[in-house]
Each structure stands twice: as structure tokens, then as C-alpha cells.
């Protein structure tokens, strides 16, 4: 029980497998030590390619792995994602709001949200506090060709082609990070007396021994589910969506603008995502099978494609169906096995939490890689606590979008606001925010997934009313004048950025041609 942990075995390729391998190997691989990382990938099972949107965290993840951002853009059909734009979520009457990645102006030391309450009729919240908005509204880039790799003028993550991304990661892991790629099917699992996984039998590459096994086998969950029988906790009572119809849609011309955000448009019983890559758009409808038929969901999706890309595009679209049971494992790290990716859990893609959870999980494994088997159980316990907490925060944050909606046109929207469908932790926050605006101390942890800025964008984007305490000094006249000056300053910065940034397409074409500089 006291042997050291030198050999990590990742089971499963795809983005989760290769991203985990890259993050862990980048931290530990060296010609000077005994660390080894194997990745077993079945040549027969296609990857599902989940997650075409990332958080800004992906920039530092890629940088840390030593991947050039220029190569990433050139090889993964990547584009810039500056946040999410929501349509029809609040009233279903053509209204829109944004959740940009850049925090409100002066967010560290000044909370502008209380002061915005006085101008809420004139200016949408995000436009008043975030300099990123004109860029988002005009399909402009978050940087220009002189900005170094991974640096930015305003914060951004990516949209990407998941298949191409896994391929780039594979090449980089094998060539630069010493990852040993085994293309074989798993046939059996051998256990130690204590119940750990000792090794994995394969059909064509013999027995692969390991000290720590990472289950990236997707929904099949070969290790954590099939072998260890760790149950999944269903979250369907909070998040109703369990089906998706995904399509790829061509641009009309090679010059069509590339959107700066994921577009999310609410439907009768779900919502449609619209992700712009340089090469195509990824458009899909995620819905609840309990409230919508596949036939109707398909009709809504085709209507959206027709509206935004034309009749021809709608006729040509080939649609793939995905079903899922929203939820996550009761625990993610059991014995000497950690589940990362869809083996750990899956919920609807609103706010694109899939890839960021892979990044966070792999980063924690990398950072806390137990020195020996003895302390692994402690690390596992802490890992499980942290990620159970994170899944709950993601569920709260996604659910927030539904309970703020004032739509009552279908049972789906009405039922989403039923008290028994709202997690208690979320209901408490809402109760508080009726009387005070979200601020730094609303978050418990330093590495919280959603900062209070995100809650502000969604709450005030969706017309939530906070009844300010009239006794509060925060709203006095002097503070109000200071806030006014900041609104003006923000608007000036926004105008300057909009005048100087290239369009997404211009910048991406320049990156293809000239590359971004490292400094």
C-alpha cells in the first residue's frame, strides 16, 4: 500500500482523454524521472466530440502544455469566444442579453451593480459595465495581430472543432510530452487484493500496468461505472433537458462574419446553441423529451437554421441525435481510479461546463498527484468533495437561467420555476439577492467556478429586481457620482476598442497567414 505513484494510465482518447493526458504529463514528464503516462485508445470506437465551447481557462491550459496558440488556431478551426448571448430567455419576445467573459469595469474594488439600478431602464447591464459589448455585438475580435499569443485586450475562450482538437492534443502529447499512445481495445481489468486496478488487458498490446488509472471512456464509464459500480446521481429533477439534436451548417460565403459569442436561443422546451467556427457553424437543439417530441424539436431546429442560414442550409443539414441522463457520479475518485469527462457526468451544455471540468479535474490530479498509494485515499476524498461541490455550483448556475425566466407559454418554462425543481442552495441565493446585489463574499471558495460577476450578468440581464437597502451607504450621492464616472469611462474604453479591433474573421485569417507572436 505504500508504493510510489509513477505510472498513470488514461483509458480513452477523445478530448477528455488527451486533454487530461496533456495536463498531467506537462506537470510531471521529464527525462530525469521515472514518471510514465500511457493512453489506451480504442481504434474502433469513435469519439463523441462533446464541447465545442471553452472557458477563458483554456488559454492558460494550452499555454501550460506548451502548445502554440497559432498552431491551435490553424489546426483546430478555432475561433474566439467572448461569452454567451441569450435570446428569448426572459419573455420569449425577441429580447436579448449577454454574459461576457470580462468582469464589470473596476470589479475588484467597486460594485457597479447597485448604481446600475438607477439607469436600468436606459442601458442594459452588460453594456453599462463591460467594455467588451461593442466587440461582441459587431463580431469583432478580443485582440489584434500584434497582441502576443494567449494575451488579450478583452477576455476570451474558444470555439473549436473537438475532433481536430483531440488530434492536435494527441500529436503534442506523443511528440513533446512523452505520452505513450496505445491503440488497442481493453478486454479485461486485473485487480489487486485490495481492490485497486492493477492492470488492463488489451487485445493487441498485452497487459498495461499502472499506479493510477484515469477513466476517460465517456458515457460507457468502463472503470468507474462498469468495473467499480459507482452509481450516477440523476439531476433531472433540476435540469429537465435530456436530449439534443446537433447539426453542422455551412456559411453562405467564405466571408460571412464569425460570431464572438455562443448564441443561445430559448425554444418551447429547451434552447438552441449556435457556435461559429471559421469553417462552419455548429447548431443544435437541447430539449427535454418529457416536454417536447423529437419531431417538434427537429422542426424548431430547422426553423432556426432556415431563419439564420437560409432555406438551402436547412435542407442540407444532417442532424445527429444524442440522449443523456443529466447527472454525475456519486464520487469521481475511487480506489486508484479517477473519472474525468463524460464518465464523471454530463449535463446540458448551457455555459459550456464540459471542457472546463476536464481541465479542472486533470489540473487537480496533476497538482496533487499522490506521492504514494498510502496518501491517495486522502487526495481522493478531497477531490470528491471539491468536485461534488463544483457540480452542484454548475447545476445552480444553469438552473438560475431557468428560474429567472418569466416565460409561461409552455409547461416546460412553468415547471422549471416550481419550488421542488429548484436546489435549496440556489433558492437561498435568490432570496438574498432580492435585497442585495451579488458581490465577492457570495462565493465560498477562491477557485469558485462562477464568480459573482457571472451571477450579476445573468440576474440583471434577465430583468431581476433587487430592492436596495435604503440605509446603505453604497447608494449615497458621492458613491453614485463615482459610479457615473465609471460608466462614462467604460463607455469610452468600449468605443476605443470597437474602433481599433479587427473582425474575428480578419484576425483569424491573419493568424493563418502570419501567426501570432510569442511576446
Amino acid at each position: 500500500m505504500n508504493h510510489s505513484i509513477n505510472r498513470v494510465v488514461v483509458v480513452g482518447g477523445g478530448t477528455a482523454g488527451w486533454l487530461s493526458a496533456g495536463i498531467i504529463a506537462a506537470e510531471h514528464y521529464s527525462s530525469q524521472n521515472d514518471f510514465e503516462l500511457y493512453l489506451i485508445e480504442s481504434p474502433d470506437i469513435p469519439t463523441i466530440g462533446v464541447g465545442e465551447g471553452t472557458w477563458p481557462s483554456m488559454r492558460s491550459t494550452l499555454k501550460k502544455m506548451g502548445i502554440s496558440e497559432t498552431d491551435f488556431f490553424r489546426e483546430c478551426s478555432a475561433s474566439f469566444k467572448q461569452g454567451t448571448q441569450f435570446y428569448n430567455w426572459t419573455y420569449g419576445k425577441g429580447e436579448t442579453y449577454s454574459h461576457p467573459f470580462t468582469a464589470p469595469h473596476h470589479f475588484n474594488d467597486k460594485n457597479l451593480a447597485p448604481h446600475w439600478q438607477t439607469i436600468r431602464e436606459e442601458t442594459p447591464f452588460a453594456d453599462a459595465v463591460c467594455p467588451q459589448m461593442p466587440l461582441i455585438n459587431n463580431q469583432l475580435a478580443p485582440k489584434d495581430i500584434t497582441t502576443p499569443e494567449y494575451a488579450f485586450n478583452v477576455n476570451y475562450g474558444y470555439h473549436l472543432d473537438a475532433g481536430k482538437f483531440a488530434e492536435l492534443l494527441r500529436k503534442h502529447c506523443v511528440k513533446q510530452l512523452g505520452v505513450k499512445h496505445i491503440s488497442a481495445n481493453m478486454t479485461a481489468i486485473n485487480s489487486t487484493e485490495e481492490g485497486d486496478i492493477q492492470s488492463i488487458e488489451t487485445d493487441s498490446s498485452g497487459t498495461i500496468e499502472g499506479d493510477l488509472f484515469i477513466d476517460c471512456s465517456g458515457t460507457r464509464a468502463l472503470l468507474i461505472g462498469e468495473h467499480f459500480k459507482i452509481p450516477t446521481l440523476s439531476k433531472k429533477k433540476y435540469l429537465f433537458n435530456d436530449s439534443a439534436l446537433a447539426a453542422q451548417v455551412a456559411y453562405e460565403t467564405a466571408e460571412d462574419p464569425i460570431q464572438s459569442c455562443t448564441l443561445s436561443t430559448a425554444q418551447s422546451a429547451g434552447w438552441i446553441w449556435d457556435i461559429g467556427l471559421p469553417t462552419r457553424r455548429g447548431i443544435g437543439h437541447v430539449y427535454s423529451s418529457q416536454y417536447n417530441s423529437e419531431e417538434n424539436a427537429r422542426a424548431e431546429l430547422l426553423a432556426y437554421i432556415k431563419d439564420t442560414a437560409g432555406e438551402k442550409a436547412a435542407e442540407k443539414a444532417s442532424i445527429r441525435k444524442i440522449t443523456f441522463d443529466p447527472g454525475h457520479r456519486e464520487k469521481f475518485w475511487h480506489k486508484n481510479c479517477v473519472a474525468i469527462g463524460m464518465s464523471a457526468g454530463f449535463i446540458e451544455p448551457l455555459e459550456a461546463s464540459a471542457l472546463v471540468l476536464v481541465e479542472l479535474s486533470a489540473a487537480m490530479v496533476a497538482e496533487q498527484l499522490p506521492a504514494n498509494r498510502k496518501i491517495m485515499d486522502i487526495v481522493a476524498k478531497r477531490f470528491n468533495e471539491k468536485f461534488s461541490y463544483r457540480w452542484n455550483r454548475i447545476i445552480d448556475f444553469i438552473k438560475l437561467h431557468y428560474i429567472l425566466s418569466k416565460r409561461a407559454d409552455t409547461a416546460y418554462w412553468v415547471d422549471n420555476c416550481r419550488a421542488d425543481s429548484v436546489p435549496e442552495s440556489l433558492q437561498e441565493l435568490i432570496d438574498i439577492w432580492h435585497y442585495q446585489v451579488p458581490w465577492h463574499r457570495d462565493c465560498y471558495h477562491i477557485d469558485e467556478m462562477f464568480p459573482s460577476a457571472s451571477f450579476q450578468y445573468v440576474l440583471y440581464g434577465m430583468d431581476f429586481k433587487t430592492q436596495m437597502n435604503p440605509m446603505s451607504k453604497r447608494t449615497d450621492r458621492q458613491a453614485g457620482m463615482q459610479a457615473q464616472a465609471m460608466f462614462v469611462e467604460n463607455s469610452k474604453i468600449a468605443q476605443r476598442l470597437a474602433a481599433s479591433m479587427p473582425t474575428n474573421r480578419e484576425l483569424i485569417n491573419k493568424i493563418y497567414k502570419y501567426g501570432l507572436q510569442k511576446i
Binding site: 495581430i145 500584434t146 502570419y514 501570432l516 507572436q517 511576446i519
Partner: protein, 237 residues
Amino acid sequence: MSNYVVLSPETHHDTRVLTEPGKTQADVVQFTMTHPLEFRNIQACYPIFFSKSRDTGEFFPLALFGFEQGENLFIDQFQWHASYIPMMIERQPFLIGYQKTADDTTNPVVSIDTNSPKVSDSEGQLLFEANQPTDYMKGIMSKLEALHHGHEHNKGFISAITENDLLEPFTLEITLNNGTTNQLMGFYTINEHRLLELGGDTLSEFNQKGYLQPIYMAVASYARIKDLIDKKNALSK
């Protein structure tokens, strides 16, 4: 705005160019682009730094003349006081391009910026006489060709130094005798630590390709910053 048109004796037989550097507003610039083949001459007079093209993000070397936009400390009373004038200043108001002909040979094509303050109808050097280029124009032609050659060489030089991480950003803050401060930002210099770490193979390759000497020329040129500060101090007395 510049307006470049193809140069021809038919159109430009009466056109003249003011050749003295510093005489017109065209030369009142903070820096000009240079290339490694003239670094030896540049470093005798000017600091050599690097900057990024606004259009492509690619690095280019430059000779620095001042601490702020539109400041050229080498010009006084419409005269440029330095023993060497950078080629990119001397070539003005001309540009050279190359055209591929049907039989696959390349022909140089010279253009002139008719909006340049250096272009005149009454003063300066004639470009053509009796439909033939004047000696001045012949001199410009050979300078333009040398410049083209220099810029081609520069492409390999820039790739070599960026691939080896030899550039680093820097900020220079100078305080003048009268107490005012000037900040120079957005430029890049040779990273001397990285330079000293280069291995034998790289050094040998750099040497063969003519990259090693200009790197050290650029390093040596930093001593010229003091000349610029002295000039600025003399001005702000």
C-alpha cells in the same frame, strides 16, 4: 496619405525631388525601419530596436530618432545631423516592387509617392533628362535594389531571432535634466541572457547566414541611447 504611382519618364520628366535629409516634414519621424545589412552603419549613430508591424504582427528592426511620436532629435534647422542616413529615409519618396514577366524574368518597378513633401516641380534634383534617368535617379535605383536585398535578408534574420526567443519587450524611462520624464514603450530588444545561452550549432549557423554580427551590432547600439538623451536635454534647456 501616400499616393504611389509607377514612375515613368513620360509622366515625370519635370518632377524634382528635394534630396537633403531633414529638409521636409517627411523626415520628422520617431523611427524608421532598417535591416541587418546596414546595422553596422546604423549603430554608429542610432539605437536599434524592434517593433511589430500593425498590419501583420511581424517584428522589424528600426533605427530610433526620438522619444515620442513625431520627434526626430537628429533634425535641427531643417538639417539632419548624423554621419549616416538610414536607407529607408534616403529612398524616399520612392518604392521598389518586382513584376514577373511572361518569360519568367523579374523586372524592377519603381513607384513614386506624389503626395510626399519631398516631391516638387521647381526645386531639387530632376529624375529624368532627355528621357534617361539622371545620375541621382540611377543612384536611387541602386539604393532601392540594395534595400530590397536587405529586406529579404531581414526575413530570415527575424525568423531566426524570434524562433530562438532572442527578443524581449522593454520599457525605458528617462528623466531629463529639467526633471521631466519620458517613457519609451512598445519596443523590443535583444535578450542578452538568451544570447549567451545559445549553443555552438546555433551560433555557427547564425554566423554562416550573417545573423550573428548584426545581433551584436544591435546590442552595441544601445550605447546610442545616451546620445538621444543628450540631444533631448539640449533641446529642453
